[in-house]
Symmetry: C2
Subunit: 195 residues, 2 copies
DNA sequence: TTGACAACAGAACGATGGTTCTATATACGG
DNA sequence: CCGTATATAGAACCATCGTTCTGTTGTCAA
């Protein structure tokens, strides 16, 4: 039985290749990938994909995916009426890496343990993205070393005094003496449900 | 004044190009990119980057970034002792897209409004990633249409009866009659702090 | 059966890609 | 000042790339 080639199936194959190799396949590679025997067939599909704004080609014939091809669709809010899969608004589609991490070279991940920030919606096991070298403002969540121990707290500035407040009221406020080593500012929280 | 080229600066330039064009620059393009005038200089740096496991080359000379080049470093948990930026463990580095979204073509994003899932650490304004066509298990968070309205709730199966429970106890449990249209299962939560 | 059309095969072509080699410029220690 | 090492320049080379053209196969309606 012969698989019928469709725009979606071709796009899927190319995307799979890209995700694995982090580059576009060449026309010759696509010949194998699509299971055809001629580059002109590949060219036919490539033009279709360009027309569909999934691929784009610069002046010298270099292929690349559009932003749209990577992103996953983003629909409105739940209470505003939940659209059916067919009427998804594809116009506003984003990539997680791009959305979450503004400065990749100054950021790192940290796995949270403990319940001191549960009130802020940061649970044990969550991953937080921390940006180094950013000046915290009051209300920001920071990672700091206070008296030899690292903790994650709300940052507050009362006059000249700095106060670190936990979201969980069971934990006391911390007023560091002079030494406050700042690990960074929490810019995002990420939680993945196993499965 | 002439900028000294370093491994980091070259990597940064190439990464910037990649992020913008979603493909590797060619050697000729790198000549312009690095501000040199010969491809052999480019080749010199490429080899350095390959040695540093930032780039890799397949049999036919096709360049691509390694996984490592994209990912941001992940350090241990806070309470386990917070490493300084110098001693970051780079071995376990992940990309957000890859980490969060197992099936990109079956997933979409939804912005949360309301406080019905606050107890589960899902706040208003958060972005949830929803996977379609997955069979929910008890304890999963699902998006479902109950009697004409879309909501996000815990999924529970008591015998043959399905119960939708909010994390916020102020909301009553929902026991749908027969019609329960399932939008999908929440596989991840993402929150970005503005700034 | 035939005609029309779409999908595909295959080869030829010029341009560009990465590679390699040799020559020149710069920095630095003695 | 000299000699050595390192970084850069420039040119030549061929495999591969994407492009294009012509011809073949397959499908479906009349």
């Amino acid at each position: 039985m012969k698989e019928k080639r469709t725009l979606q199936s071709v796009q899927k194959l190319l995307l799979a290749f890209f995700r694995q190799n982090r580059r576009m396949p060449s026309f010759s590679e696509m010949v194998d990938l699509l299971g055809v025997r001629s580059k002109s067939v590949v060219n036919f599909w490539i033009e279709k994909l360009i027309e569909a704004r999934i691929l784009e080609k610069d002046g010298k014939g270099h292929l690349s995916f559009t932003k749209q091809a990577f992103a996953i669709p983003r629909v409105g809010s739940i209470q505003a009426g939940f659209p059916s899969p067919e009427e998804e608004v594809l116009s506003d589609a984003i990539s997680m890496d791009e959305y979450l991490i503004a400065r990749p070279d100054a950021s790192f991940l940290l796995q949270v343990s403990g319940d001191s920030m549960t009130g802020a919606g940061i649970m044990a096991g969550d991953l937080v993205i921390i940006e180094k070298g950013r000046a915290p403002k009051t209300g920001d969540i920071v990672v700091a070393e206070v008296d030899g121990e690292w903790t994650m707290k709300y940052f507050q500035k009362q006059g000249k005094q700095i106060v670190l407040v936990a979201a969980n009221p069971r934990y006391p406020d911390i007023r560091p003496r002079s030494e406050l080593r700042l690990g960074g500012v929490v810019t995002a929280v990420v939680r993945k449900y196993h499965g």
